[in-house]
């Protein structure tokens, strides 16, 4: 494997600071200037909402009862962590769903990306077709899935009956927690795997062909090649996909809202659903603000964790 490892070492980018040596000052200045538009744009959009929500999180703020507005310190946060407003189960559901869905989605995405990376005729068409599920707005695809899951007239039922598979005529939604979650996972995966596949494909395409050639010369099998060459070099793209999928799964809302409305009972409620409920149904901007801040904090922790675990080695 020596020629392969040399090849890898040659093409893995080195850490930037070393290369700008003499010119580090001007490089740094240029760097700050170039990132400032992105940072400022995002700050402009999220700045006020973030501050507004943090401010509200320390108050009792009922939108429809303005006279009751008052400062309450950490009371809202206490509510969030004290299982009072159904948040305990919601958090459990959210974490559980994320833990199950992300590996499945990223795994499937990787598999598809590997397939698309082969010189198969018509893969361009396949790639475009596979992006279509992602081209449907989530809100609408959730509604479409809802009709597809109808036990009497839905497409899922039709296919299952046609193929004489078990599960025909089941009421997937709102009669059983497990089945509801399965349905949610299915609809979510359908929409999201293309996203993962395309990003991973872009990452795969960045791996120079000569590495694979060197590996073949060295006599490495497909699995070895995958493990030693593909996966490590795919790390940046993999990190992007993992972080985005994990955070999206933690924030899942549209699909749940359309498919189950957090039912049966409240067994498919998630953090984002409780957040929405606080804002829109209860008008409780204080609690909603606190939940939002907690969600951002969770996102922060998750992103940091991934970065630590998957930091590209120098």
């Amino acid at each position: 494997m020596t020629s392969t490892s040399t090849a890898i070492r040659r093409v893995t980018p080195s850490t930037p600071p070393r290369r700008w040596g003499r010119r580090s000052a001007s490089g740094k200045r240029l760097g700050y200037v170039l990132v400032s538009p992105a940072v400022l744009v995002l700050l402009a959009i999220t700045g006020f909402p973030l501050v507004y929500n943090i401010w509200n999180s320390f108050h009792y703020f009922d939108l429809l009862n303005p006279t009751s507005h008052r400062f309450v310190g950490l009371e809202n946060y206490r509510q969030v962590f004290s299982n009072q407003t159904g948040l305990g189960p919601a958090i459990e559901h959210t974490i559980g769903y994320t833990a199950v869905s992300v590996p499945i989605e990223v795994g499937l995405g990787l598999g598809i990306a590997l397939l698309l990376n082969r010189p198969i005729r018509g893969r361009g068409v396949a790639r475009s077709l596979l992006l279509l599920p992602w081209a449907v707005p989530t809100v609408i695809s959730a509604t479409v899935w809802k009709t597809m899951l109808d036990p009497q007239t839905g497409g899922v039922d039709y296919v299952l009956s046609l193929l004489h598979l078990p599960g025909a005529h089941t009421t997937w939604l709102n009669t059983s927690s497990l089945l509801s979650w399965v349905a949610i996972l299915f609809a979510d995966t359908w929409q999201v795997v293309p996203f993962a596949a395309i990003i991973l494909l872009a990452g795969l395409q960045g791996i120079p062909r000569e590495l694979y050639e060197a590996a073949t010369v060295d006599g490495a099998g497909a699995w070895r090649t995958f493990w030693r060459i593909t996966l490590p070099l795919l790390r940046p793209a993999l990190l992007v996909v993992l972080v985005f999928r994990t955070l999206s799964a933690l924030m899942i809302f549209d699909i749940i809202y359309a498919l189950t409305g957090s039912g049966p009972g409240t067994s498919t409620s998630t953090l984002a659903y409780v957040d929405w409920n606080s804002f829109l149904v209860n008008g409780n901007f204080g609690l909603g603000g606190a939940i939002s801040v907690v969600m951002v904090a969770i996102a922060l922790i998750v992103a940091a964790a991934y970065r630590l675990i998957l930091r590209p080695k120098a």
Binding site: P16, W20, K28, G31, L34, V35, P37, A38, V39, L42, I45, F48, P49, N53, L115, R118, I120, R127, S128, L131, L132, P133, W134, A135, V136, P137, V139, I140, V144, T147, T153, G154, G155, I199, A202, Q205, G206, P208, R209, Y212, E213, T216, V217, A222, T225, F226, P236, V240, V243, F253, A272, F279, L280, G289, S292, V296, L300, A303, R307, P312
Partner: protein
């Protein structure tokens, strides 16, 4: 890729497995693509169903009296083509801004010695995961005050929250894959820093840029939440908003109209991606000829 030897000739024994593996791969890809498209087939079937057939309430693979009437209703009566145009305008504006902003930031974050790179990148990503529900109220207030409600520009600016985080990070990752040596080589050859970037990095980064552009476009195309909050007159509605607004009354949902809208909305994307991904392939070839 895997299985192509430097000599271009399959080795004895090895070649057989490689060909079989290739065949299995083609089959797998075809099957997977078909599975992912089954819902679209159902959507197509329902979109050709006249409303009267709903009341038969039986699942059919294909409507007994397929009609293009729903497409007519959606396109002509409900002026859906205008909604597609609105979606296009908003997506285009946002994508252009995003590419500029994201490419600059992505380049800087992956190749320039910024102190606190992690922090900046972290902020950029997290901004994309701020709960939307929490943002609607305040953003509505701000948009109202600066007079950007019910405008394409206002919506485009809000939609940047979808696209800039992902694009910045995607480009930072993909730019980072381009070896420093190439840039250094160009500089040694006497090019200015910007010349090096333009002549060397950009062609190599083209596939990444196209990917990022496609993603941005898609993310904005799919937006419903901001469109619902900021658009007030039907002539400004984007496609997803139109689909939802125009195919549901208080108690009735016209799935055939929804589905016609879905296909009409997905079609431009399909065409766009089909054309764009050719650019990705050509970009790839350029890279391999290095």
């Amino acid at each position: 890729m895997t299985g192509i030897s430097a000599l271009g000739k399959p080795r004895a024994g090895r070649g057989m497995t490689r060909r079989w593996r290739h065949r299995w791969a083609v089959l797998a890809l075809a099957v997977i693509t078909l599975i992912f498209l089954v819902p679209f087939f159902w959507v197509l079937s329902q979109s050709l169903e006249p409303t009267a057939e709903f009341s038969r309430n039986v699942p059919t693979l294909w409507p007994s009296h397929p009609t293009l009437g729903n497409y007519y209703t959606v396109l002509i009566r409900d002026s859906f083509s205008r909604s597609i145009l609105s979606s296009f305008i908003v997506a285009a504006i946002t994508t252009v801004i995003t590419l500029v902003v994201g490419a600059l930031a992505g380049y800087a974050l992956s190749r320039l010695p910024i102190r606190g790179r992690g922090l900046v990148l972290g902020f950029v990503i997290l901004a994309g995961f701020f709960p939307l529900t929490a943002m609607m109220g305040p953003l509505f207030d701000v948009m109202g005050h600066i007079g950007l409600l019910n405008t394409y520009l206002g919506l485009s600016i809000a939609d940047l929250i979808y696209t800039v985080p992902l694009t910045t990070w995607l480009l930072a990752s993909l730019f980072g894959q381009i070896p420093m040596e190439i840039e250094e080589a160009a500089l040694v050859d006497g090019a200015s820093r910007l010349g090096a970037v333009w002549r060397v990095i950009v062609p190599l980064a083209a596939p990444a840029l196209v990917t990022a552009a496609i993603f941005s476009f898609l993310l904005v195309w799919n937006d419903f939440a901001f469109s619902l909050a900021f658009l007030q007159t039907a002539n400004r509605f984007t496609a997803p908003l139109s689909i939802v607004m125009l195919s549901q009354t208080k108690y009735q949902v016209f799935y055939n109209l929804t589905d016609a809208g879905v296909l009409l909305t997905a079609l431009p994307i399909f065409v766009l991606v089909l054309f764009a991904q050719r650019r990705i392939v050509s970009g790839l070839t350029t890279g391999a000829l290095r």
